[in-house]
């Protein structure tokens, strides 16, 4: 029973972060048809802003708030500076641009800050654990579950009730027709980047608090995981991004928990094999479009 509880706690806390990241990718994919590989660097940037806030003596919650906002604004600036000039170019050009932005930011972090990781001193009350029943759950995990679930609920409300929420969901279905609804394409794209950046910000803060440090290459692993999550869920499907986040998390944690030690080194390989099996059953992802509309 204890094992099951700690399994679920681990799945939900990791899955929530994956879901937020994959949603950030999916929102951009919806409006541009682009997988933004610079998404991870937005997380890294958030981490540095959080660090700066803490080092300059700001209250923790203020530092977190400013860091998340910084993620959103940076994403909007990234769109304006890098993606807008090539918006009408081919998908390959956009993808290359996102790689270029990603590399550029990594080098800026390395040369402008330090190639080494920087410790992020989080408040000590976060580093202890709580006893629930017979199991101990760390406060960092409780926080990441709470923040993850609240952020997902807030997003659900936003996507279901607001005009821009409908517009982004509509863009995921059919971008061209959104323009026909009188929505200005460039504004929708800016808005999507802003939202995506805020999501990267929330995920980045959770990531950094759990890790205790931020380094220039921090964003690579999570963005790769988020990409896999988005593919499992169905590229461009927002529901799929959330579902995929929890599915990948459930697979990874299950393997980490129950795989025999001598097979453990093959864990990632097994994870990806399971992902490939899922994709062979659902070639377009679990919530992906079954048929493509013609152009």
């Amino acid at each position: 029973m204890d094992a099951l509880i700690s399994y679920l706690v681990n799945v939900i806390s990791l899955g929530g972060t994956y879901a937020l990241l994959a949603l950030g990718l999916a929102v951009i994919f919806s409006v541009l048809g682009l997988i933004n590989f610079a998404h991870g660097e937005l997380m890294t940037l958030t981490g540095y802003v959080l660090l700066a806030g803490i080092l300059t003596g700001q209250p923790f919650w203020l530092a977190v708030f400013v860091a998340v906002i910084a993620g959103g604004i940076s994403a909007a600036l990234m769109e304006f500076a890098a993606f807008r000039p090539v918006r009408n170019a081919s998908g390959a050009t956009l993808l290359m641009t996102s790689f270029a932005v990603s590399m550029l930011l990594q080098v800026l972090f390395q040369n402008g800050i330090s190639p080494r990781g920087q410790a992020v001193p989080v408040p000590t009350w976060l580093t202890t654990s709580l006893s629930i029943g017979n199991s101990q759950i760390s406060k960092v995990q409780i926080m990441s579950i709470t923040v993850g679930v609240l952020a997902l609920l807030a997003l659900k409300f936003f996507f279901d009730r607001s005009y821009w929420g409908w517009a982004i969901r509509a863009a995921a279905d059919d971008f061209e027709i959104v323009g026909l609804m009188g929505v200005k394409a460039s504004r929708l794209i800016s808005f999507a980047f802003l939202l995506s950046g805020l999501l990267a910000g929330v995920a980045g803060v959770l990531w950094v608090i759990q890790r205790g440090s931020v380094d220039p290459l921090m964003g690579f692993k999570p963005v790769l995981a988020a990409f896999i999550v988005a593919v499992i869920g169905g590229l461009g499907s927002l529901t799929g991004a959330v579902a995929g986040g929890f599915i990948l998390s459930a697979i990874e944690i299950a393997l980490q928990t129950w795989l025999p030690p001598n097979v453990m080194p093959y864990r990632d390989a097994i994870t990806y094999t399971i992902v490939v099996i899922i994709l062979s059953i659902f070639p377009n992802g679990i919530f992906g479009k079954r048929t493509q509309e013609k152009v």
Partner: protein, 410 residues
């Protein structure tokens, strides 16, 4: 705005992208090294220039180790050249190329440097890219030295021209195991990662040495470098019976901070032993959480004693204090080269290789450094450091008897 066309297009892009990467990797792998060993050797003792090719990671995941090493080395080169060169006549010329922490890029860069007729090649501070780069130097008959790649399989994998400025991981594992035994620890848990030779092999060396001392390894965990969370591993440690009284891991940042936060957060108080990778301000900045962590490294980075001159000089050149011991080891690689060139009295690659193989008792900052009679890993003292009040505190320095050190095998 073009309509998106779903996954198929992205898949195609991804495929062509990886094809491009593959092609460039192959192209770099094919880059034939042109031998430079036959550079006209000056008559013994005549003034010449020692051309040092540096294939280091100025960017990427290994920059944390390669950048400070290069800073230390360049400080040494500047001082030596200001004094007219080694022995007043052998000037040092450094050619630096970025390997971007990537094995394929390391090979490309090494091939370019070898073609420039260098006298010696310096490779990244990790075994995997060093093997890629070192093989080209080996073929060209040029000595290659890793900044601080400590895996003892490195010289075994490459050949007789490959050296490392670091002590072997088997040696530092032996020091940790002896310390654990001396502290009275009986049951150990080790945590490694298959993602690099360093994180993969160190737990095994520790296990061998610790069990030879009569201890017992009660659990062996693995992690993926950069993994999101260590809570599963911590749960696993909590469930162990008997509970380990010591945990040994070669994880370094960002994994080490994540792990120890999760570990202490879950209320596990077992002692933690680490390796040279965690000798960084990030670990010290963990404050209470890292208190008591004990690890092996090349020396204690403190502005006192033999190191204070280095601190002053480093600060004079870079306007900041060195952050890690790797700045010191880079400078020491310079001091080693100094002794080698004095011995060789030549800038010729082969003469330098000969002298390097037979080097005995070069004076470094942290102690003497030798290669003669060893397995081409530096024979140097291992410092054992404990974190006390967020500061490095020396437990002792050790030179384990090579006969008792676990054997390195490919």
């Amino acid at each position: 705005m073009q309509r998106k066309s779903g996954p198929s297009k992205v898949t195609k892009m991804a495929v062509s992208l990886s094809a491009i990467m593959l092609l460039s990797a192959c192209a770099s792998g094919d880059g034939e090294a042109t031998a430079s060993g036959e550079a006209t050797a000056p008559a013994a003792g005549a003034a010449c220039t020692v051309k040092v090719g540096v294939a280091g990671s100025q960017t990427g995941g290994l920059a944390y180790i390669d950048v400070p090493n290069l800073e230390g080395f360049e400080l040494w080169a500047e001082q030596v050249n200001a004094a007219g060169g080694v022995d007043g006549k052998f000037t040092i010329e450094t050619v630096v190329k970025d390997t971007r922490s990537d094995a394929a890029q390391s090979a490309t860069v090494a091939a370019e440097l070898v073609a420039e007729e260098i006298s010696i090649l310096i490779t990244p501070g990790d075994a995997d890219p060093s093997i890629a780069a070192g093989q080209l130097a080996q073929d060209a008959g040029i000595a290659a030295v890793s900044w601080f790649g400590s895996s003892p399989i490195l010289p075994l994998a490459v050949g007789d021209h490959m050296f490392s400025n670091a002590f072997g991981d088997n040696t530092q594992a032996k020091v940790l195991a002896d310390h654990a035994t001396e502290m009275g620890y009986k049951n150990a848990y080790t945590l490694g990662s298959p993602d690099s030779a360093y994180t993969n092999l160190l737990p095994g060396y520790f296990k061998e040495a610790f069990e030879a001392n009569g201890g017992k390894v009660v659990g062996e965990g693995t992690f993926s470098m950069g993994q999101a969370s260590f809570s599963v591993i911590v749960d696993e440690i909590k469930a162990l019976s008997p509970a380990p009284d010591v945990i040994m891991t070669p994880a370094y940042e960002p994994d080490f901070p994540t792990f120890i936060k999760a570990l202490r957060g879950a209320g596990i108080t077992a002692a933690v032993l680490g390796t040279d990778g965690i000798d960084s301000p990030t670990t010290l900045a963990l404050a209470d959480i890292a208190e008591g962590v004990t690890y092996t490294t090349a020396g204690v980075l403190k502005n006192e004693g033999a190191m204070s001159t280095f601190f002053t000089d480093y600060n004079g050149k870079y306007g900041k204090d060195p952050e890690t011991i790797y700045a010191v080891t880079g400078y020491e690689l310079g001091l080693t080269l100094d002794a080698v060139v004095k011995q060789a009295q030549s800038c010729d690659a082969d003469a330098i290789w000969q002298a390097w193989s037979n080097l005995e008792g070069a004076q470094g900052i942290t102690g003497a450094i030798s290669y003669k009679g060893g397995d081409r890993m530096a024979i140097r003292e291992v410092a054992l450091v404990e974190i006390k009040n967020s500061e490095r505190s020396l437990v002792g320095t050790f030179s384990p008897d090579p006969a008792t050190v676990p054997k390195a095998q490919l």
